[in-house]
């Protein structure tokens, strides 16, 4: 068990190394230099040279790369040129917002997907099952930004049920209950959008898992002992079929990170995805490199988490 985890960790290192190299070289090749916003035609050219020298932009790329990696290990990702702030602080603040959004999304996702998957599997081929399969199919086909915009238009602007942008209204003081409540109010609509779009995998997996379980020997044994079908479902089948769902958690996290770019841009939510898009637009490449590395690390961690949960739940698939 521990061997598996350690091995997986070791595999992550070269992957992160290659990713960091790629992203570093890409960022260096971005058009425009990071001072673009600061420099006006009146700026002294000597000042620009001085700034470039001070930022170490004249060194060979591998020196810059080594310095960047060295600093990154100490939690120092440099300074954001547009925000004039420490990148680590900036991302930390945004990461917290993304974390709350993701947490609610995952909760809603499981809350929607598990009952639907169970119902579809239990009442296979019924009208209910067909509706659920249809639902999971439609949500699978809809692109994130289309559903996001339609929801924002309908529930945000037309019906005015939810706020249309931001993470909290200004009139609330941090720390109070109404501040907290207002924050939740802001993440409800984006979370619902994400949750609805992410349900397909879990519903289909759970459904087919339950349908398969119905034909298993242990179910027949339980039935022949005279256990009512209702109990067979709740005590035997669901317990077996629900466990692997836990392993979806890791992949859900990976998916959430990718989706956050769209969801946060649409709902104007100040999280990491929104920060990424605005940093790309302002060529703020210390922020871009840090964000891509962080997302890459989290994605790897997500798939690692899935594998670990899976190997706890199902000992047959442990890597030898």
């Amino acid at each position: 068990m521990w061997k598996t985890i350690v091995r997986r960790f070791l595999i992550m290192i070269p992957q992160l190394f290659v990713l960091s190299l790629i992203i570093f070289i890409l960022a260096k090749n971005m058009p425009g230099d990071p001072f673009t916003g600061l420099i006006t035609p009146q700026t002294d050219p000597a000042r620009i040279v001085e700034l470039t020298e001070k930022a170490g932009l004249n060194d060979p790329w591998y020196v810059q790369y080594m310095r960047w990696v060295g600093n990154a290990f100490q939690g120092d990702f440099g300074l954001s040129y547009t925000y004039k702030r420490d990148v680590a602080d900036l991302i930390g603040e945004r990461a917290l917002n993304t974390f709350w959004l993701s947490l609610l999304s995952v909760l809603l996702l499981y809350l929607i997907a598990i009952p639907l998957g169970i119902l579809a599997g239990r009442y296979q081929n019924s009208r209910l099952d067909k509706t659920i399969v249809m639902y999971s199919f439609v949500t699978y086909a809809i692109p994130t930004f289309v559903l996001g915009l339609i929801f924002l238009f309908l529930f945000g602007y037309k019906l005015e049920w939810f706020p249309t942008s931001g993470s909290v209204d200004v009139q609330y003081d941090p720390g109070t209950f109404s501040y907290f409540w207002n924050k939740i109010y802001h993440i409800v609509l984006p979370s619902i959008t994400y949750a609805i779009l992410g349900t397909t995998g879990i519903i289909q997996y759970l459904r087919s898992e339950i349908i398969d379980a119905k034909a298993m020997d242990y179910v027949r044994t339980a039935r022949s002992k005279g256990i009512p079908m209702r109990k067979v479902y709740s005590k035997h089948i669901f317990r077996n079929s629900l466990l692997p769902i836990a392993a979806f958690l890791g992949f859900t996290i990976t998916g959430l990170l990718g989706g956050s770019i769209f969801i946060e841009t649409i709902f104007g939510y100040p999280g990491m995805g929104e920060l990424f898009v605005s940093s790309i637009l302002s060529r703020d490449y210390s922020v871009i490199t840090a964000l891509v590395m962080l997302f890459g690390f989290l994605a790897l961690l997500g798939s690692l988490l899935s594998d670990i949960i899976m190997s706890i739940v199902d000992p047959r698939i442990r890597i030898e």
Binding site: Q15, I23, M30, P31, I280
Partner: protein, 302 residues
């Protein structure tokens, strides 16, 4: 009488096993929704291409006319006009054509490359398989969307061709993995072993013997990829990292909704394009699912 006809029809099938096309046809006859989607898609796609080829004057379409800024849907413009006073319907048709062409190009490039890599890895195994599997694992774990966006901003002379290549660079891995796993199991079959014993060239075995057996799953995979590619292209164009602004795409049309005022008041400038994307994705996916069922005898309805 009708029943009798049906029976004789079935007898024919018993005499000779149904060919691929017959199976697909029966599957679509059983699934009305897929049939409807297929017909609609064919009509829409043919319509779009014929229309852009015959009728629409591109110059006229891109001309800015401030007097018609956000004109409401009416007689002059069926679906109104956008910020520059440009006709929404015309832009949607040209945009849909661009989006489709790009998605088709990406699907073909990733399809050919993915199938080639998958077949070679699955058939030969060994170090080449190991190498490609490591690469594919890497591609699957990295944040693809972010890297695509970074790539797009880095390319110095950004064109539609560059966009297609960047997308293809990242999107071939799924097909390669699927084809590899199928080719792996196929290459252990008796017919392949027999062919090897007879001394057939490896590449002839791959292309003439294994590939035809994988054709059905490849078609299904490419149909679903096509839907996915339409989604990714329009999504990136929506964010502003897709097609150049001067090229109308369904995504750039929807992107006008990034302005809250447009989103709220001038809904006709983005909602039709968004719904069009939605229905197109649904349609292609339905067709893809029907093909998938036709390809797998256990799932067939008909």
């Amino acid at each position: 009488m009708a029943r009798k006809n049906k029976n004789t029809g079935n007898n024919n099938y018993v005499n000779s096993p149904p060919t691929g096309l017959q199976v697909i046809f029966r599957e679509f006859m059983k699934d009305k929704l897929a049939m409807f989607s297929l017909l609609l898609l064919v009509i829409v796609i043919v319509g779009i291409f014929v229309w852009t080829w015959l009728g629409i004057d591109q110059q006229q379409l891109l001309r800015v006319s401030l007097r018609d800024k956000f004109a409401e849907p009416g007689e002059k413009f069926w679906l109104g006009a956008d910020q520059g006073g440009k006709d929404i319907v015309g832009q949607m048709i040209v945009g849909a054509r661009n989006s489709m062409l790009i998605a088709i190009a990406i699907t073909l490039i990733t399809g050919v490359f993915g199938v080639a890599v998958g077949l070679i890895c699955g058939y030969f195994g060994g170090w080449i398989d190991n190498l490609f599997m490591r690469i594919i694992d890497f591609f699957i774990t990295i944040p693809q969307l972010m890297l695509i966006i970074v790539f797009i901003t880095v390319v110095p002379k950004y064109t539609v061709g560059a966009f297609i290549l960047i997308m293809s660079l990242f999107l071939w891995t799924g097909t390669a993995r699927l084809v590899r796993s199928k080719a792996l199991s196929e290459s252990r079959r008796d017919y392949v072993l027999a062919s090897k014993t007879l001394g057939t060239n490896d590449f002839i075995i791959i292309i003439r013997e294994i590939l035809p057996n994988l054709s059905s799953i490849i078609i299904v995979e490419m149909t679903l990829n096509f839907a996915g590619n339409v989604g990714i292209e329009t999504g990136l164009s929506y964010l502003g990292f897709g097609l150049p602004q001067s090229t109308p795409s369904l995504g750039t049309l929807v992107a006008s909704a990034n302005n809250p005022l447009v989103l709220q008041q001038y809904w006709w400038s983005w909602l039709p394009a968004a719904l069009f994307i939605l229905f197109m994705m649904l349609g292609i996916n339905y067709v893809g699912q029907a093909l998938r069922r036709a390809a797998d005898s256990r799932q067939r309805l008909g």
